[in-house]
């Protein structure tokens, strides 16, 4: 079985066919992979290198915890990968991007107006939650197409606060 797995902007071709063996980007490794009975812990020996990790499935990717770092991995088998490519669902942001609330809270300030051109990383909304003010920033360059909230308004988790479209 052949998979194309993506971490950040790295892509790796991973083949799993034989027992105790794995091929990663055409390189063969001996592996011994164990699921512990103990709450989702995994142990991998790969060419005798030892790794402990936790892997959990999320809506559209896998979360992998190794040595304190959390990695988001997208795993597709060859077919799914080709389909995705065909549909042009590549990783960089196009079309309208929406900024939604990562948690329930109170809108303290709105930094943008509809129609305003902004850069990736610009502040869009200040959300107060967990006793802290949190800056929500734009994921892309573009123009503010809609602002759905105003200061003093309280919002739910995942509520859409504003949308950013392409510049005209």
């Amino acid at each position: 079985m052949k998979y194309i797995s993506t971490v950040g902007n790295e892509e790796h071709i991973i083949e799993i066919d034989k027992e105790g063996q794995i091929t990663v980007d055409d390189q063969i490794f001996a592996i011994d992979f164990q699921h512990l009975t103990d709450g989702g812990l995994l142990s991998l020996l790969i060419d005798n290198r030892s790794l402990e990790a936790i892997v959990e499935e999320r809506d559209d990717h896998w979360e992998v915890l190794i040595h304190g770092e959390l990695y988001a991995v997208d795993v597709k088998d060859e077919r799914a990968y080709r389909l995705a490519k065909a549909r042009g669902l590549s990783t960089e942001v196009t079309g309208e991007a929406s900024i939604s609330s990562p948690m329930p809270g109170l809108i303290v300030a709105v930094r943008v107006k509809e129609g305003q051109e902004i850069q990736k990383g610009d502040q869009v909304v200040i959300l107060e939650s967990m006793k802290m003010e949190n800056e929500l920033r734009s994921p892309r360059d573009g123009t503010v197409t809609h602002v759905y909230v105003s200061p003093g308004q309280s919002v739910e988790k995942n509520q859409i606060l504003a949308t950013i479209g392409d510049n005209r």
Partner: protein
């Protein structure tokens, strides 16, 4: 309220008016002193460790703190119903509310902390500045109390720019405005006053000089009811984000024994100026020339108290309870001795790669680091839901070493061993910091984390391994779904590919 509003007598049952790691910390200290504990919980905390470990537990209301952990009447009622004779407030919530200390007094309950008056004075920044200054404590240059805007603008000329407009009440950076030059002062004043008004219902503001490249260093003190006050050395707390400490260490590398003694004596003087009783912390700003200025006093146990415990060998929370029981301090100043080095990393539910946005969700897995020199104080558990109701602190990871270098290396080891899944944590931030040359070489001040620290320094070392592991798990899922694996052929509780050595044994 008079300073007499302070009870101290022997008690055998304590209401712990808090939650999370500090509630656990207090319950353990009580347990070790043979004191019974009464826990309280809001709807969402029924399964929390502090409920399970307390001898008794009572439900006190809904998740919003105002309807539970801040509900004074309810807490006093539970104390009476359970027969508790004392109340420990922990930190946060009601810990620095004079009216709570007073309500306990009125109800005949020992409040494990200072008198209402001490809390009141130190809670009002202007009153605190005035009081300690009269006791000969150096304070950050600033304006007198009770000035109107015009008078403040005049005062600003003498103080000099840049300066800070601060609210007298409350804290956490609210009603605070840095001002670089006179032109912006007027706006800053009105803005700060409005913010303070709305946040604390008190628009009183004042000016403080901004001390460039300063450090935040604090002194832990203990004071008994017999007039004995000692200091337990300092804590270096300069690493902060938005006025929230993230990493603390003890001792501080800028403080030598002579300076420690001077700071300690000043701290003791500040405490005495309000007849302070129990554990407290005096926060100082320290400038490039190692001159130090009183910033404020925290009239309760500090989040970062464990690092002082590790280097002094004392148990501060047990001392709090002994003092509240009316005991004399067992230690004289000369008995207090600093040995080794301790560092605390605050593990928060937040995303260090995305502006430290709080990360809500349910914690699925926890594996705590253990072994030599590692201490974890935590109040969360698998199944715990991180909500917006309470602060994002998951745990405090504290490491001890014979030297600062060894404490840092041990912290790296412990951070690597720590496993938390379900929410994002700032563990990668701490790992970056432990690797940062500026941190290793002491080159930081209170602005370092916000202005000059970046997460991008360190590349994701195990990304290939992550890809492999995710793929192995995904592949397994496919197999099981498509029944390629005949049921029973493999032990599903521990599924694997047979590795070479196993096949050899067939």
């Amino acid at each position: 309220m008079s300073n007499k509003a302070l009870l101290n007598k022997k008690f055998d049952k304590v209401l712990v008016a808090n939650r999370g790691e500090i509630a656990m910390r207090i319950i353990r200290a009580c347990n070790e002193l043979g004191i019974q504990t009464v826990g309280v919980f809001s709807d969402v905390d029924r399964n929390a460790p502090h409920v399970r470990y307390a001898n008794e537990a009572y439900h006190i209301g809904k998740p919003p703190a105002l309807e539970s952990y801040l509900n004074i009447e309810k807490l006093i009622e539970v104390a009476k119903r359970s027969g508790a004779e004392a109340v420990h407030p922990g930190y946060g919530f009601l810990a620095e509310r004079a009216e709570f200390a007073h309500a306990c007094y009125e109800a005949g309950l020992v409040f494990v902390g200072p008198s209402p008056r001490a809390i009141e004075v130190m809670g009002d920044k202007l009153a605190a500045r005035k009081t300690v200054q009269e006791a000969g404590v150096p304070i950050v240059p600033g304006s007198e109390p009770g000035l109107n805007d015009d008078e403040l603008i005049d005062a600003a000329k003498k103080i000099g720019y840049p300066l800070l407009v601060k609210a007298s009440a409350g804290g956490g950076g609210k009603g605070m405005r840095p001002v670089a030059e006179q032109d912006n002062l007027a706006d800053a004043l009105s803005g700060a006053r409005r913010e303070a008004e709305s946040a604390f219902g008190d628009g009183t503001i004042y000016l403080e000089k901004i001390i460039p490249e300063c450090r935040h260093i604090e002194i832990q003190i203990l004071a008994d009811t017999h007039g004995n006050t000692i200091y337990l050395g300092e804590r270096e707390c300069s690493l902060q984000r938005r006025h929230q400490k993230v990493i603390e260490e003890a001792p501080s590398f800028v403080v030598d024994p002579e300076m420690r003694e001077r700071m300690g004596q000043v701290a003791v003087a500040a405490a005495r100026s309000v007849n302070y009783v129990n554990a407290g912390t005096i926060e100082f700003l320290v400038d490039k020339d190692k001159k130090f200025y009183f910033l404020e006093m925290n009239t309760r146990v500090q989040v970062e108290h464990p690092i002082t415990e590790l280097v002094t060998g004392l148990d501060i929370v047990q001392e709090q309870l002994r003092i509240a029981r009316g005991r004399k301090l067992r230690y004289k100043q000369e008995d207090v001795e600093i040995r080794g080095w301790a560092i605390e990393c605050r593990i928060n539910a937040e995303d260090p790669y995305n502006d430290f946005l709080p990360s809500t969700g349910t914690i699925t897995t926890i594996r705590l680091p253990t072994g030599p020199g590692v201490r974890v104080d935590t109040g969360v558990y698998p199944g715990y839901e991180v909500t917006a109701h309470y602060d994002p602190l998951i745990s405090k990871l504290i490491c001890y070493g014979e030297t600062r270098g060894e404490a840092i290396l041990r912290m790296r080891r412990a951070l690597e061993e720590y496993r938390i899944m379900g929410v994002k944590t700032n563990i990668p931030f701490h790992q970056h910091m432990m690797d940062s040359h500026r941190f290793l070489s002491y080159q930081f001040d209170t602005k370092f984390v916000e202005d000059r620290f970046s997460m991008s320094e360190r590349e994701a070392v195990d990304s290939l391994e992550a890809a492999i592991l995710a793929t192995l798990v995904a592949h397994r899922k496919d197999q099981q779904a498509s029944q390629i694996v005949a049921p029973g052929e493999r032990d599903t509780s521990n599924w694997k590919w047979l590795s070479r050595w196993e096949r050899l044994q067939r």
